[in-house]
Amino acid sequence: MLKARVIPCLDVKDGRVVKGVNFVDLKDAGDPVESAKAYDAAGADELCFLDITASHENRDTIFDVVRRTAEECFMPVTVGGGIRTTDNIRDLLKAGADKVSINTAAVLRREFIKEAAEKFGAQCIVASVDAKRVSKHGEPLKWEIFTHGGRTPTGIDAIDYAQEVVDLGAGEILLTSMDRDGTKIGFDIDLTRKIADMVSVPVIASGGVGTLDHLVEGVRDGHATAVLAASIFHFGEFSIHEAKAHMVKAGIPMRMDRDK
């Protein structure tokens, strides 16, 4: 059976990790490269950098982060945030990213996914789907796409959108429940399962992880093939190894080679 992946996600602003990272023995808790190295050594299956730099001038700092990470980490790295053009993608891949996650640019212009997939291959184009539940209790379930970190509604149905970006060539979907993000009450399983069962590409579940059981639920009940989490790992609450061991115990195949 397919091994599920555990993906820690680091929010990077102006070249530094925000939200803070609390590893033991970390030289500089704000340096994303130091954090990446710690996750690499701990056996993370993949790493995700989310560039939340607000100003255009500081955009270049993410290239430096990716470049330095690629020199020292030997696991797949996905970079998201602020990607608007195929030149942005080329530069990130050139710096050492393996995949890029595209969000707002594709919501504004769907064809961007197609152009990116044709140019760089579907395997490196991750469509980021930020969805918020808009149906009221008792109504049929409905989710809407939000941009700008969940602040801006678009009126686009999340389920339709997910199918559309896959049809356009996205090789993977990073599915974030905006109403669960940061709540620590678990993934939106209805949403995850609905999309994972529908599309023909892998789905990464994101948003809401607070316990190790939540990771299990994302794969077992949500049918995601990968789970992404931030705070439970950053603050040292759980290690990557504990997370993977817990998932193995629940019957989910995982890569258990400890690297270092």
Binding site: D98, Q123, E172
Partner: protein, 217 residues
């Protein structure tokens, strides 16, 4: 003395991660698209991600296809990774039919979108997967190759691909990985040519060990 490895630079995908990984195992990795450098290399790595046709036209435009053929004749070690492995085959069906280098007999075809039980199968195949010896292959097939030897552990490597090589001759099939019940080609070999579908440069310590073995065969 550490031998030099030339990593072919042909404008496709992320060549730096392969160079970084080789440097990590103390190999002198030279990134080059120069035909003379390629022909006179001790060892060659052909990396690459993206579409088959783009990779082949990039190789042809620069005359690197012929340089690779000339290099392979010298019986020095050659390693193709991902698309760099797929282009070794005769042709691929990715976005139309495209000719490959034809160094190994067989084709590259899309991964089945159904499991062997008829259930839906996700494509691309993105996962860390363990390798196994092909059915009916001799027990010692991994001797003298880049893969972990018999007494080693059985690590997982990182795969990300929608197409899969299908060598005609069983002798050329070195290792497989199971996906949805299908045995996907994970590694191929013919004389001094080795091809890997997975990414050793992205497969942690196990991948670095593999690249290190490549510099010693």
């Amino acid at each position: 003395m550490t031998k030099q490895v030339v990593v072919i630079d042909y404008g496709i995908g992320n060549v730096f991660s392969v160079c970084n990984a080789l440097k990590e195992v103390n190999v002198d990795a030279v990134l080059s698209g120069d035909l003379n450098v390629i022909k006179s290399a001790d060892r060659i790595v052909l990396p690459g991600v993206g579409a088959f046709s783009r990779a082949m036209s990039a190789l042809k435009d620069k005359g690197i296809d012929d340089a690779i053929r000339a290099f392979v004749e010298t019986e020095r070690p050659f390693l193709g990774i991902c698309i760099g492995m797929q282009v070794l085959m005769q042709h691929s069906t990715e976005m139309g039919t495209h000719q490959g280098l034809g160094l190994i007999e067989g084709i590259v075809d899309r991964i089945d979108s159904k499991t062997t039980d008829g259930a839906r199968l996700l494509v691309p195949h993105i996962s860390w997967a363990q390798l196994h010896k092909p059915k009916s292959a001799p027990e010692d097939i991994w001797n003298q190759c880049v893969l972990p030897q018999r007494n080693d552990h059985n690590p997982a490597y990182y795969f990300v691909h929608s197409y899969s090589a299908r060598p005609v001759h069983k002798d050329n099939l070195l290792a497989e990985a199971t996906y949805g019940g299908h045995a996907l080609t994970a590694a191929i070999k013919k004389n001094n040519i080795t091809g890997l579908q997975f990414h050793p440069e992205r497969s942690g310590k196990a991948g670095l060990e593999l690249l290190n073995r490549f510099t010693q065969i």
